[in-house]
Amino acid sequence: MQKVGIIGVGQSAFVRGYEGSIRELVFEGFSEAMRDAQIKPEDIQASIICSAPEYDKQRTPAGLMAEYLGLNPQPTFYIESVCSSSSMGLRVAYSMIQAGLHDVVAVIGFQKMSEISSAESQERMGRGADIMWESPFGTMMPAYYAMHARAHMNTYGTTEEDLALIRVKAASYGQINEKAVYRKGVTLEKALESDPVSTPLKVFDCCANADGSSCIIVASEEMARKLSPKPVWILGLGAASAPINMAGRTTFSGLTCAREAAKQAYAMAGVGPEDIDVAEVHDCFTIAEMMAYEDLGFAEPGKGKELIRNKETYIGGKIPVNVDGGLLSKGHPIGATGGSQIRTITLQLRSEAGPMQVDGAKIGLVHNIGGVGIYGNVTIFGRDE
Protein backbone atom coordinates (compact mmCIF):
# COMPACT_ATOMS: atom_id res chain seq x y z
CA MET A 1 0.00 0.00 0.00
CA GLN A 2 1.26 3.49 -0.85
CA LYS A 3 1.79 6.06 1.89
CA VAL A 4 -0.31 9.18 2.36
CA GLY A 5 1.43 12.37 3.43
CA ILE A 6 0.80 15.88 4.64
CA ILE A 7 2.39 18.50 2.42
CA GLY A 8 1.00 21.71 3.85
CA VAL A 9 -0.47 23.02 7.08
CA GLY A 10 -2.08 26.31 8.05
CA GLN A 11 -4.00 27.87 10.88
CA SER A 12 -5.52 31.26 11.58
CA ALA A 13 -4.80 32.89 14.90
CA PHE A 14 -7.37 31.59 17.40
CA VAL A 15 -9.15 34.67 18.74
CA ARG A 16 -12.18 35.87 20.68
CA GLY A 17 -14.63 37.67 18.42
CA TYR A 18 -13.08 37.41 14.95
CA GLU A 19 -13.85 40.60 13.05
CA GLY A 20 -14.84 39.07 9.75
CA SER A 21 -17.13 36.51 8.16
CA ILE A 22 -16.62 32.75 8.23
CA ARG A 23 -15.39 32.76 4.62
CA GLU A 24 -12.65 35.25 5.53
CA LEU A 25 -11.77 33.28 8.64
CA VAL A 26 -11.38 30.10 6.57
CA PHE A 27 -9.25 31.93 4.01
CA GLU A 28 -6.64 32.64 6.69
CA GLY A 29 -5.92 28.99 7.49
CA PHE A 30 -6.27 27.89 3.87
CA SER A 31 -3.94 30.53 2.41
CA GLU A 32 -1.25 29.71 5.00
CA ALA A 33 -1.46 26.00 4.12
CA MET A 34 -1.26 26.78 0.39
CA ARG A 35 1.83 28.95 0.92
CA ASP A 36 3.31 26.18 3.05
CA ALA A 37 2.66 23.55 0.35
CA GLN A 38 3.59 26.00 -2.42
CA ILE A 39 0.63 24.95 -4.55
CA LYS A 40 -2.37 26.70 -6.11
CA PRO A 41 -6.12 26.13 -5.65
CA GLU A 42 -6.30 24.28 -8.99
CA ASP A 43 -3.85 21.69 -7.59
CA ILE A 44 -6.42 20.71 -4.92
CA GLN A 45 -8.54 17.88 -6.34
CA ALA A 46 -11.19 17.82 -3.60
CA SER A 47 -11.97 19.74 -0.42
CA ILE A 48 -13.48 18.50 2.83
CA ILE A 49 -15.01 21.21 5.04
CA CYS A 50 -15.18 20.34 8.75
CA SER A 51 -17.13 22.15 11.47
CA ALA A 52 -20.13 21.95 13.79
CA PRO A 53 -22.93 23.58 11.77
CA GLU A 54 -25.22 24.98 14.44
CA TYR A 55 -23.11 28.10 15.02
CA ASP A 56 -23.66 29.53 11.55
CA LYS A 57 -26.64 30.92 9.71
CA GLN A 58 -25.00 29.65 6.51
CA ARG A 59 -26.42 26.33 5.43
CA THR A 60 -24.09 23.88 3.67
CA PRO A 61 -20.83 25.81 4.28
CA ALA A 62 -18.81 23.54 1.95
CA GLY A 63 -20.32 25.17 -1.13
CA LEU A 64 -19.56 28.64 0.16
CA MET A 65 -15.97 27.83 1.11
CA ALA A 66 -15.12 26.05 -2.15
CA GLU A 67 -16.28 29.10 -4.10
CA TYR A 68 -14.45 31.61 -1.88
CA LEU A 69 -11.20 29.63 -1.88
CA GLY A 70 -11.13 29.10 -5.65
CA LEU A 71 -11.87 25.38 -5.37
CA ASN A 72 -14.62 25.09 -8.04
CA PRO A 73 -15.36 22.90 -9.93
CA GLN A 74 -13.63 20.26 -7.77
CA PRO A 75 -15.86 18.20 -5.45
CA THR A 76 -16.44 19.53 -1.94
CA PHE A 77 -18.48 18.27 1.01
CA TYR A 78 -19.00 18.62 4.73
CA ILE A 79 -17.84 16.36 7.58
CA GLU A 80 -19.12 16.70 11.13
CA SER A 81 -18.19 14.89 14.33
CA VAL A 82 -18.32 18.03 16.50
CA CYS A 83 -14.93 18.67 18.14
CA SER A 84 -13.16 15.94 16.16
CA SER A 85 -14.56 16.99 12.76
CA SER A 86 -11.23 17.79 11.13
CA SER A 87 -9.56 14.57 12.33
CA MET A 88 -12.50 12.73 10.80
CA GLY A 89 -11.96 14.86 7.68
CA LEU A 90 -8.34 13.68 7.57
CA ARG A 91 -9.54 10.07 7.82
CA VAL A 92 -11.85 10.60 4.84
CA ALA A 93 -9.10 12.35 2.84
CA TYR A 94 -6.78 9.41 3.56
CA SER A 95 -9.44 6.98 2.35
CA MET A 96 -10.10 8.89 -0.87
CA ILE A 97 -6.40 9.05 -1.66
CA GLN A 98 -5.81 5.38 -0.86
CA ALA A 99 -8.80 4.51 -3.06
CA GLY A 100 -7.15 6.36 -5.92
CA LEU A 101 -9.98 8.87 -6.35
CA HIS A 102 -7.75 11.90 -5.74
CA ASP A 103 -4.07 12.72 -5.23
CA VAL A 104 -4.32 16.03 -3.35
CA VAL A 105 -7.11 16.83 -0.87
CA ALA A 106 -7.60 19.85 1.41
CA VAL A 107 -9.07 19.25 4.89
CA ILE A 108 -10.42 22.59 6.07
CA GLY A 109 -11.76 23.11 9.59
CA PHE A 110 -13.38 26.21 11.04
CA GLN A 111 -15.64 27.60 13.75
CA LYS A 112 -16.81 31.08 14.51
CA MET A 113 -18.17 30.49 17.99
CA SER A 114 -18.65 34.19 18.69
CA GLU A 115 -21.63 34.20 16.31
CA ILE A 116 -23.69 33.36 19.42
CA SER A 117 -23.54 34.24 23.16
CA SER A 118 -21.69 32.15 25.72
CA ALA A 119 -24.94 30.91 27.35
CA GLU A 120 -26.33 30.02 23.91
CA SER A 121 -23.05 28.30 23.13
CA GLN A 122 -23.28 26.20 26.33
CA GLU A 123 -26.84 25.30 25.42
CA ARG A 124 -25.83 24.22 21.92
CA MET A 125 -22.77 22.37 23.18
CA GLY A 126 -25.00 20.64 25.73
CA ARG A 127 -27.22 19.54 22.87
CA GLY A 128 -24.19 17.62 21.58
CA ALA A 129 -25.31 15.07 24.18
CA ASP A 130 -28.65 13.22 24.39
CA ILE A 131 -31.25 15.98 23.98
CA MET A 132 -34.18 13.74 24.83
CA TRP A 133 -32.97 12.26 28.11
CA GLU A 134 -30.14 14.46 29.41
CA SER A 135 -30.52 18.05 28.16
CA PRO A 136 -33.90 18.47 29.99
CA PHE A 137 -31.87 18.31 33.25
CA GLY A 138 -29.75 21.33 32.23
CA THR A 139 -26.53 19.68 31.11
CA MET A 140 -23.47 21.34 29.61
CA MET A 141 -20.04 20.15 28.53
CA PRO A 142 -18.14 21.18 31.70
CA ALA A 143 -20.64 19.23 33.82
CA TYR A 144 -20.16 16.05 31.79
CA TYR A 145 -16.38 16.23 32.03
CA ALA A 146 -16.73 17.20 35.70
CA MET A 147 -18.52 13.89 36.32
CA HIS A 148 -15.52 12.15 34.75
CA ALA A 149 -13.18 14.18 36.97
CA ARG A 150 -15.14 13.17 40.08
CA ALA A 151 -15.01 9.51 39.07
CA HIS A 152 -11.27 9.68 38.29
CA MET A 153 -10.55 11.32 41.65
CA ASN A 154 -12.66 8.78 43.50
CA THR A 155 -11.17 5.77 41.71
CA TYR A 156 -7.51 6.81 41.56
CA GLY A 157 -6.96 9.53 44.15
CA THR A 158 -6.31 12.18 41.50
CA THR A 159 -6.59 15.66 43.05
CA GLU A 160 -7.79 19.09 41.98
CA GLU A 161 -4.16 20.16 42.20
CA ASP A 162 -3.16 17.47 39.68
CA LEU A 163 -5.66 18.94 37.24
CA ALA A 164 -4.46 22.47 37.97
CA LEU A 165 -0.90 21.37 37.14
CA ILE A 166 -2.11 20.47 33.65
CA ARG A 167 -3.45 24.01 33.25
CA VAL A 168 -0.16 25.47 34.47
CA LYS A 169 1.68 23.45 31.81
CA ALA A 170 -0.74 24.51 29.06
CA ALA A 171 -0.37 28.16 30.01
CA SER A 172 3.42 27.95 30.03
CA TYR A 173 3.34 26.93 26.36
CA GLY A 174 0.38 29.10 25.37
CA GLN A 175 2.58 32.07 26.23
CA ILE A 176 5.00 31.17 23.44
CA ASN A 177 2.39 30.25 20.83
CA GLU A 178 1.54 33.35 18.83
CA LYS A 179 -1.64 31.69 17.49
CA ALA A 180 -3.08 31.02 20.98
CA VAL A 181 -6.07 32.96 22.32
CA TYR A 182 -4.88 32.79 25.95
CA ARG A 183 -1.26 33.95 26.19
CA LYS A 184 -0.92 34.60 29.89
CA GLY A 185 0.82 32.40 32.43
CA VAL A 186 -1.25 30.66 35.11
CA THR A 187 0.19 29.86 38.52
CA LEU A 188 -0.92 26.82 40.50
CA GLU A 189 -2.49 29.11 43.11
CA LYS A 190 -4.42 31.06 40.48
CA ALA A 191 -5.72 27.87 38.88
CA LEU A 192 -6.82 26.44 42.23
CA GLU A 193 -8.46 29.68 43.37
CA SER A 194 -10.52 30.15 40.22
CA ASP A 195 -14.33 29.99 40.49
CA PRO A 196 -16.04 26.61 40.26
CA VAL A 197 -17.90 26.04 36.98
CA SER A 198 -19.19 22.56 37.64
CA THR A 199 -17.54 20.85 40.60
CA PRO A 200 -14.76 19.75 40.77
CA LEU A 201 -13.90 21.71 37.59
CA LYS A 202 -13.07 25.42 37.84
CA VAL A 203 -12.71 28.22 35.32
CA PHE A 204 -9.07 27.38 34.68
CA ASP A 205 -9.88 23.70 34.10
CA CYS A 206 -11.86 24.72 31.01
CA CYS A 207 -10.65 25.70 27.56
CA ALA A 208 -11.80 28.98 26.05
CA ASN A 209 -14.23 29.28 23.18
CA ALA A 210 -12.50 30.82 20.18
CA ASP A 211 -12.90 31.62 16.51
CA GLY A 212 -10.44 30.00 14.17
CA SER A 213 -9.67 27.96 11.08
CA SER A 214 -7.18 25.29 10.10
CA CYS A 215 -6.17 23.59 6.89
CA ILE A 216 -4.25 20.39 6.15
CA ILE A 217 -3.15 19.50 2.60
CA VAL A 218 -3.04 15.73 2.17
CA ALA A 219 -1.37 13.98 -0.78
CA SER A 220 -0.61 10.58 -2.24
CA GLU A 221 2.95 9.32 -1.71
CA GLU A 222 3.88 10.08 -5.32
CA MET A 223 2.53 13.62 -5.20
CA ALA A 224 3.91 14.24 -1.72
CA ARG A 225 7.42 13.27 -2.82
CA LYS A 226 7.07 15.43 -5.92
CA LEU A 227 5.68 18.52 -4.18
CA SER A 228 7.17 18.53 -0.69
CA PRO A 229 10.77 18.57 0.57
CA LYS A 230 9.62 17.33 4.00
CA PRO A 231 6.40 15.30 3.77
CA VAL A 232 4.96 14.04 7.05
CA TRP A 233 3.41 10.58 6.69
CA ILE A 234 0.19 9.27 8.17
CA LEU A 235 1.35 6.02 9.82
CA GLY A 236 -1.81 4.97 11.62
CA LEU A 237 -5.45 6.01 11.91
CA GLY A 238 -7.89 4.96 14.61
CA ALA A 239 -11.52 5.95 15.02
CA ALA A 240 -14.21 4.73 17.38
CA SER A 241 -17.48 5.70 19.03
CA ALA A 242 -19.16 5.29 22.43
CA PRO A 243 -22.74 5.76 23.70
CA ILE A 244 -23.86 9.39 23.62
CA ASN A 245 -25.96 8.86 26.76
CA MET A 246 -24.00 8.65 30.02
CA ALA A 247 -26.31 5.82 31.10
CA GLY A 248 -24.73 3.70 28.37
CA ARG A 249 -21.15 4.20 29.55
CA THR A 250 -19.14 1.44 31.20
CA THR A 251 -16.63 3.79 32.88
CA PHE A 252 -16.31 7.46 33.84
CA SER A 253 -12.59 7.46 34.58
CA GLY A 254 -11.58 7.22 30.92
CA LEU A 255 -13.01 7.45 27.40
CA THR A 256 -13.53 4.06 25.77
CA CYS A 257 -13.66 5.61 22.28
CA ALA A 258 -10.13 6.96 22.80
CA ARG A 259 -8.81 3.62 24.04
CA GLU A 260 -10.27 1.81 21.05
CA ALA A 261 -9.04 4.42 18.54
CA ALA A 262 -5.56 4.32 20.09
CA LYS A 263 -5.43 0.54 19.82
CA GLN A 264 -6.26 0.73 16.11
CA ALA A 265 -3.79 3.54 15.39
CA TYR A 266 -0.90 1.85 17.22
CA ALA A 267 -1.59 -1.45 15.43
CA MET A 268 -1.76 0.18 12.00
CA ALA A 269 1.41 2.22 12.60
CA GLY A 270 3.24 -0.72 14.16
CA VAL A 271 4.34 1.38 17.13
CA GLY A 272 3.44 1.63 20.81
CA PRO A 273 2.96 4.49 23.25
CA GLU A 274 6.64 4.29 24.20
CA ASP A 275 7.58 5.21 20.62
CA ILE A 276 5.71 8.53 20.58
CA ASP A 277 8.04 11.54 20.75
CA VAL A 278 5.41 14.28 20.96
CA ALA A 279 1.63 14.25 21.34
CA GLU A 280 -1.32 16.57 20.94
CA VAL A 281 -4.28 15.49 23.06
CA HIS A 282 -7.80 16.86 23.30
CA ASP A 283 -7.59 18.89 26.52
CA CYS A 284 -10.96 20.64 26.29
CA PHE A 285 -10.80 20.28 30.08
CA THR A 286 -7.82 19.43 32.28
CA ILE A 287 -9.42 16.08 33.18
CA ALA A 288 -9.59 15.25 29.47
CA GLU A 289 -5.79 15.48 29.23
CA MET A 290 -5.40 13.39 32.39
CA MET A 291 -7.64 10.67 30.92
CA ALA A 292 -5.80 10.90 27.59
CA TYR A 293 -2.46 10.08 29.29
CA GLU A 294 -4.02 6.82 30.43
CA ASP A 295 -6.28 6.06 27.45
CA LEU A 296 -3.29 6.42 25.11
CA GLY A 297 -1.06 4.22 27.27
CA PHE A 298 1.43 6.97 28.23
CA ALA A 299 0.63 5.95 31.81
CA GLU A 300 -1.15 3.02 33.42
CA PRO A 301 -4.75 3.74 34.49
CA GLY A 302 -4.59 5.92 37.58
CA LYS A 303 -0.93 6.83 37.05
CA GLY A 304 -1.55 9.84 34.80
CA LYS A 305 -1.10 12.11 37.79
CA GLU A 306 2.50 10.94 38.18
CA LEU A 307 3.27 12.16 34.65
CA ILE A 308 2.15 15.71 35.36
CA ARG A 309 3.51 15.82 38.93
CA ASN A 310 6.94 14.83 37.57
CA LYS A 311 6.68 17.19 34.58
CA GLU A 312 7.06 14.21 32.21
CA THR A 313 4.65 15.83 29.74
CA TYR A 314 6.73 19.02 29.44
CA ILE A 315 9.41 19.43 26.75
CA GLY A 316 12.36 17.43 28.05
CA GLY A 317 10.07 14.94 29.82
CA LYS A 318 9.28 11.36 28.88
CA ILE A 319 6.38 12.28 26.57
CA PRO A 320 5.81 15.99 25.81
CA VAL A 321 2.06 16.66 25.47
CA ASN A 322 0.35 19.80 24.15
CA VAL A 323 3.50 21.85 24.05
CA ASP A 324 1.64 24.38 21.87
CA GLY A 325 -0.66 25.29 24.79
CA GLY A 326 -3.35 22.76 23.94
CA LEU A 327 -7.01 23.62 23.68
CA LEU A 328 -6.75 25.09 27.19
CA SER A 329 -4.56 27.98 26.05
CA LYS A 330 -4.84 27.91 22.25
CA GLY A 331 -8.64 27.96 22.43
CA HIS A 332 -11.08 25.46 20.95
CA PRO A 333 -12.84 26.54 17.75
CA ILE A 334 -14.64 23.19 17.40
CA GLY A 335 -14.19 22.33 13.72
CA ALA A 336 -10.69 23.82 13.49
CA THR A 337 -9.21 22.07 16.51
CA GLY A 338 -8.20 18.73 15.00
CA GLY A 339 -6.51 20.50 12.10
CA SER A 340 -4.63 22.73 14.51
CA GLN A 341 -3.41 19.66 16.43
CA ILE A 342 -2.31 17.99 13.17
CA ARG A 343 -0.53 21.21 12.15
CA THR A 344 1.40 21.29 15.43
CA ILE A 345 2.56 17.68 15.03
CA THR A 346 3.47 18.27 11.37
CA LEU A 347 5.61 21.27 12.33
CA GLN A 348 7.20 19.24 15.15
CA LEU A 349 8.14 16.40 12.77
CA ARG A 350 9.57 18.94 10.29
CA SER A 351 11.60 20.52 13.16
CA GLU A 352 9.83 23.82 12.47
CA ALA A 353 8.00 24.31 15.79
CA GLY A 354 10.28 27.12 16.95
CA PRO A 355 10.40 27.61 20.73
CA MET A 356 7.93 24.73 21.15
CA GLN A 357 10.16 22.24 19.31
CA VAL A 358 10.77 18.80 20.82
CA ASP A 359 14.29 18.01 19.62
CA GLY A 360 14.55 15.14 17.17
CA ALA A 361 10.82 14.31 17.18
CA LYS A 362 10.23 11.51 14.67
CA ILE A 363 6.84 10.09 15.62
CA GLY A 364 3.91 12.21 16.73
CA LEU A 365 0.35 11.47 17.82
CA VAL A 366 -2.92 13.39 17.67
CA HIS A 367 -5.83 12.49 19.99
CA ASN A 368 -8.99 14.38 19.04
CA ILE A 369 -12.33 13.71 20.78
CA GLY A 370 -15.84 14.67 19.66
CA GLY A 371 -18.42 15.50 22.32
CA VAL A 372 -18.01 13.87 25.71
CA GLY A 373 -16.20 10.88 24.26
CA ILE A 374 -18.81 10.12 21.61
CA TYR A 375 -16.23 10.15 18.83
CA GLY A 376 -12.57 9.24 19.29
CA ASN A 377 -9.88 9.83 16.68
CA VAL A 378 -6.24 8.93 17.19
CA THR A 379 -3.77 9.51 14.35
CA ILE A 380 -0.05 8.73 14.31
CA PHE A 381 2.41 10.58 12.09
CA GLY A 382 6.03 10.01 11.09
CA ARG A 383 8.74 11.49 8.88
CA ASP A 384 11.47 10.20 6.61
CA GLU A 385 14.71 9.40 8.43
Binding site: E123, M132, E134, F137, A143, A151, V197, A247
Partner: protein, 137 residues
Amino acid sequence: MGFERFGTVSFVSQTKVAKFVDFLDEGSVMGTKCKSCGAKYFPPRSDCAQCLSSDMEWFEITGPGKLVTYSKLMYAPSGFEKDLPYRICVVEYADGVKVFGRISSQIPDKELAIGMDLVAVPVKLSGDKVSYEFRRP
Protein backbone atom coordinates in the same frame (compact mmCIF):
# COMPACT_ATOMS: atom_id res chain seq x y z
CA MET B 1 -47.09 14.80 21.66
CA GLY B 2 -46.77 14.72 25.42
CA PHE B 3 -43.05 14.26 25.89
CA GLU B 4 -42.49 18.04 25.89
CA ARG B 5 -43.68 17.89 29.53
CA PHE B 6 -40.43 16.13 30.52
CA GLY B 7 -37.79 18.21 32.31
CA THR B 8 -37.18 21.92 32.89
CA VAL B 9 -36.67 22.51 29.17
CA SER B 10 -37.58 19.76 26.72
CA PHE B 11 -36.23 19.52 23.20
CA VAL B 12 -38.33 16.61 21.96
CA SER B 13 -42.13 16.42 21.88
CA GLN B 14 -42.85 13.29 19.88
CA THR B 15 -41.57 9.84 20.77
CA LYS B 16 -43.06 6.37 20.90
CA VAL B 17 -42.01 6.18 24.56
CA ALA B 18 -43.94 9.35 25.57
CA LYS B 19 -45.89 7.15 27.99
CA PHE B 20 -42.82 7.60 30.23
CA VAL B 21 -44.31 10.98 31.18
CA ASP B 22 -47.68 9.40 32.05
CA PHE B 23 -45.87 6.93 34.30
CA LEU B 24 -44.13 9.84 36.06
CA ASP B 25 -47.59 11.38 36.66
CA GLU B 26 -48.64 8.09 38.21
CA GLY B 27 -45.58 7.97 40.45
CA SER B 28 -43.24 5.56 38.62
CA VAL B 29 -39.91 5.90 36.81
CA MET B 30 -39.96 3.30 34.06
CA GLY B 31 -37.51 1.72 31.64
CA THR B 32 -38.22 -0.69 28.81
CA LYS B 33 -37.39 -4.36 28.40
CA CYS B 34 -37.19 -6.31 25.13
CA LYS B 35 -39.80 -9.06 25.14
CA SER B 36 -37.76 -10.99 22.60
CA CYS B 37 -34.26 -11.11 24.17
CA GLY B 38 -34.81 -9.65 27.65
CA ALA B 39 -32.42 -6.67 27.26
CA LYS B 40 -33.31 -3.90 29.73
CA TYR B 41 -32.99 -0.24 28.82
CA PHE B 42 -32.83 3.07 30.57
CA PRO B 43 -33.50 5.55 29.15
CA PRO B 44 -36.48 3.68 27.70
CA ARG B 45 -36.39 2.82 24.00
CA SER B 46 -38.94 1.58 21.49
CA ASP B 47 -36.47 -0.66 19.73
CA CYS B 48 -33.92 -3.22 20.89
CA ALA B 49 -30.33 -2.64 19.72
CA GLN B 50 -29.41 -6.23 20.71
CA CYS B 51 -31.90 -8.25 18.64
CA LEU B 52 -33.60 -5.46 16.62
CA SER B 53 -37.04 -6.35 17.93
CA SER B 54 -39.57 -3.56 18.51
CA ASP B 55 -41.66 -5.62 20.90
CA MET B 56 -40.94 -3.91 24.21
CA GLU B 57 -42.58 -3.80 27.63
CA TRP B 58 -42.24 -1.34 30.50
CA PHE B 59 -40.55 -2.16 33.81
CA GLU B 60 -40.22 -0.02 36.91
CA ILE B 61 -36.85 1.32 38.04
CA THR B 62 -36.90 0.29 41.66
CA GLY B 63 -33.97 0.66 43.89
CA PRO B 64 -32.03 1.71 45.52
CA GLY B 65 -29.15 2.21 43.10
CA LYS B 66 -25.67 3.44 43.88
CA LEU B 67 -24.26 6.88 43.06
CA VAL B 68 -21.57 6.41 40.37
CA THR B 69 -20.54 10.05 39.87
CA TYR B 70 -21.97 13.58 40.06
CA SER B 71 -21.22 17.26 39.57
CA LYS B 72 -22.68 20.49 40.97
CA LEU B 73 -23.29 23.11 38.29
CA MET B 74 -22.58 26.73 39.19
CA TYR B 75 -23.40 27.95 35.67
CA ALA B 76 -26.27 26.78 33.51
CA PRO B 77 -27.21 26.68 29.86
CA SER B 78 -29.99 29.01 28.62
CA GLY B 79 -33.32 28.24 30.26
CA PHE B 80 -31.94 26.66 33.44
CA GLU B 81 -30.51 29.73 35.23
CA LYS B 82 -33.24 29.84 37.87
CA ASP B 83 -32.49 26.26 38.95
CA LEU B 84 -28.85 27.02 39.93
CA PRO B 85 -27.01 25.53 41.62
CA TYR B 86 -28.06 21.94 40.87
CA ARG B 87 -26.36 18.58 40.76
CA ILE B 88 -26.46 16.01 37.98
CA CYS B 89 -25.43 12.41 38.47
CA VAL B 90 -25.40 8.82 37.23
CA VAL B 91 -26.84 6.07 39.42
CA GLU B 92 -26.30 2.35 38.78
CA TYR B 93 -28.77 -0.35 39.80
CA ALA B 94 -28.14 -3.97 40.73
CA ASP B 95 -29.26 -5.21 37.28
CA GLY B 96 -26.64 -2.99 35.62
CA VAL B 97 -29.15 -0.38 34.42
CA LYS B 98 -27.81 3.17 34.83
CA VAL B 99 -29.98 6.27 35.19
CA PHE B 100 -28.92 9.86 34.56
CA GLY B 101 -30.67 12.63 36.48
CA ARG B 102 -30.53 15.30 39.17
CA ILE B 103 -29.88 14.82 42.88
CA SER B 104 -32.60 16.23 45.17
CA SER B 105 -31.77 19.56 46.81
CA GLN B 106 -32.87 17.88 50.08
CA ILE B 107 -29.47 16.14 50.27
CA PRO B 108 -26.70 18.55 51.35
CA ASP B 109 -23.43 18.55 49.37
CA LYS B 110 -21.45 17.28 52.33
CA GLU B 111 -23.58 14.14 52.57
CA LEU B 112 -22.93 13.11 48.98
CA ALA B 113 -20.60 10.15 48.57
CA ILE B 114 -19.90 7.93 45.61
CA GLY B 115 -21.43 4.53 46.28
CA MET B 116 -24.27 5.88 48.46
CA ASP B 117 -27.77 4.49 47.96
CA LEU B 118 -30.27 6.62 46.05
CA VAL B 119 -33.76 6.10 44.66
CA ALA B 120 -35.38 7.76 41.63
CA VAL B 121 -38.57 9.61 42.58
CA PRO B 122 -40.97 11.38 40.15
CA VAL B 123 -41.32 15.13 40.78
CA LYS B 124 -43.69 17.82 39.51
CA LEU B 125 -42.12 21.00 38.10
CA SER B 126 -43.78 24.36 37.43
CA GLY B 127 -45.83 24.76 34.26
CA ASP B 128 -47.32 21.24 34.33
CA LYS B 129 -43.89 19.72 33.71
CA VAL B 130 -42.63 16.53 35.29
CA SER B 131 -39.27 14.93 35.95
CA TYR B 132 -37.60 12.67 38.45
CA GLU B 133 -34.83 13.20 40.99
CA PHE B 134 -32.65 11.08 43.23
CA ARG B 135 -33.33 10.99 46.97
CA ARG B 136 -32.22 8.95 49.93
CA PRO B 137 -34.19 5.67 50.14
